[in-house]
Symmetry: C2
């Protein structure tokens, strides 16, 4: 760390409200030191956002800061973990105080909201890339996994699907609420924590429901049927689609199934636990919806209201084509 | 994670010998899960290498993989920590099997050497950037810090200084041993662990002795005198300098003081602990050398053999000019 790098870190990334007692040494040394409380496992995840790949270069810096943390918190949520601390690797083309001011505000506002402390990282010069690494806590052995689903389990999602994908399609024409869903995703931390005892498996939806549910099912060589009608769509999503011409109406199914960036949770629940899940998640604003059922037969079958099969045109984002 | 991303991770990054019992869930889920053993603090660091900034684009991929982990292990060493686990964020312009094969070999060979397990991460598409985040263990309260030095403490460095800097100067003309020092730095893990009880402060030398010792001293508003003559220089360094013309002889002092990338440790020891340190570090191949003393007067004074002051031309690498 050079003196200038120190300056950047001190100036922008240490003005945080959250101070966790588990953090013995935070920003400013060769490394940070955590004391994980007895009776907890530590959940560790890491995600990178690359300018021009994961967000348009013109994205507001506060949204980039928010999203870099949110996508990691979404991984913690999918494990049922409570956020604890994060490290940030920020690669920047130049030292731009205005950009840093906004970026750090977006990041630290979300961090403070979840009482997560930024404990260190690295700032380097190069093409704009943000890697964030988050730590969370779960009671021993209670981390939710991708594997664990069984045939007959109900498939749930939190919130609504396709909003971020539609915002990306509509660009400037997207309603503010849809843009908000794309730029400021809300990690479903509280939902994940409440699912620890009743969900059989969980994953977050970053690449689209079909792709991510696919990963969950593959972990146990299972399949699923999904009810297209039951996929939760927001009012903003439905009214934006009404304004589009008839040729684009397949987006109604396509986006909730295949568009990424919603950062909702997808999870499975044994039938005898469904009422417990409904109870546990009742008070949460995001809510949850049953969208299908796990089957022994591999593959995901999407069914229309009349029982006919729907074949989506795409099946989720691929990082390397 | 798309199917292809899964493929990359499975194919290249899971073929590791080390399996730590502290790792409950490794690569393949939304996040990894660690159980930190009771009676240990967790040390957490993160460093990024950007192509064209931290290494020339033509660097052998195995060296990039090695170095990405080594610079983080060097931070762990400076804290006195024992390596445990790491996460990798790899941003690649394209899916290049040959490059990935070599890169992962370089990284995992070093990981296995220190019984560190790669537990997760993210692969994305974009300009070549490698962020690695490492976890280590220390007994409670025994992490070495940058702060803690006192006036009168002896200043030590491990190994030799200036080798990597000279390799960078000489480029193709550098002797293989010097290139090795630049491309395959050896983190001083064992030295760091043996210093826990006797060093008053420690830092690793990534940006040059003057810059990094400066950070250590600033933490307590102290200064230092350094004896130029005592700076440890390797045989390869000395003989390479003999081959250069007279105009370049100031590199003899300049490189050990100001060039980065050596990844040796710089640490301070109270006078009554020096014999204990000599004993503890005796068996290590890198050895250690007293190069100066901490002073109450701030600033670092470099003294020639005759007692005259030497003023270095530069004072270490700056990430943002």
């Amino acid at each position: 760390m050079s003196a200038t790098e120190f300056g950047i870190i001190r100036r922008y990334f240490t003005r945080q409200r959250s101070r966790r007692e588990e953090v013995l040494i935070g920003i400013g040394d060769d490394a940070a030191v955590l004391r994980v409380p007895v009776g907890h496992d530590l959940v560790v995840c890491m995600d990178t956002l690359v300018a021009g790949v994961h967000f348009p270069a013109a994205t507001p810096p506060a949204a980039i800061g928010h999203k870099a943390l949110a996508v990691n918190l979404s991984d913690l949520a999918a494990m049922g973990a409570e956020p604890l601390a994060a490290t940030l690797a920020l690669t920047l083309p130049e030292n731009d105080p205005e950009w840093l001011e906004e970026f750090s505000r977006g990041l630290l506002t979300l961090a403070d909201h979840y009482d997560l402390q930024l404990i260190g990282g690295d700032t380097t010069r190069g093409p704009l890339t943000v890697t964030l690494q988050a730590h969370g806590l779960v009671p021993p052995g209670q981390a939710l996994r991708r594997q664990g689903a069984r045939s007959g389990d109900r498939i749930y999602v939190t919130g609504t699907l396709g909003d971020a994908g539609l915002a990306l399609c509509l660009q400037e024409a997207a309603a503010p609420w849809l843009r908000q869903r794309l730029e400021y995703p809300e990690p479903r931390i509280e939902a994940g924590m409440r699912l620890r005892k009743n969900a059989s498996a969980a994953i977050d939806i970053s690449d689209g429901l079909l792709a991510d549910l696919g990963h969950l099912l593959e972990a146990d060589c299972l399949g699923a049927t999904l009810s297209l009608e039951s996929l939760p769509r927001s009012d903003a999503f439905l009214s934006a689609l009404q304004g589009l011409d008839a040729g684009k109406q397949d987006l109604h199914h396509e986006l909730p199934l295949t568009s990424g960036d919603d950062y909702e949770l997808c999870f499975t629940v044994p039938p005898d636990r469904c009422s417990a899940v409904a109870r546990e998640l009742a008070g949460l604003p995001c809510g949850c919806t049953v969208v299908g059922e796990v089957t022994r037969q591999p593959g995901i079958r999407c069914l229309r209201k009349d029982g006919s099969a729907y074949q989506p045109a795409t099946s989720g984002y691929r990082h390397f084509g």
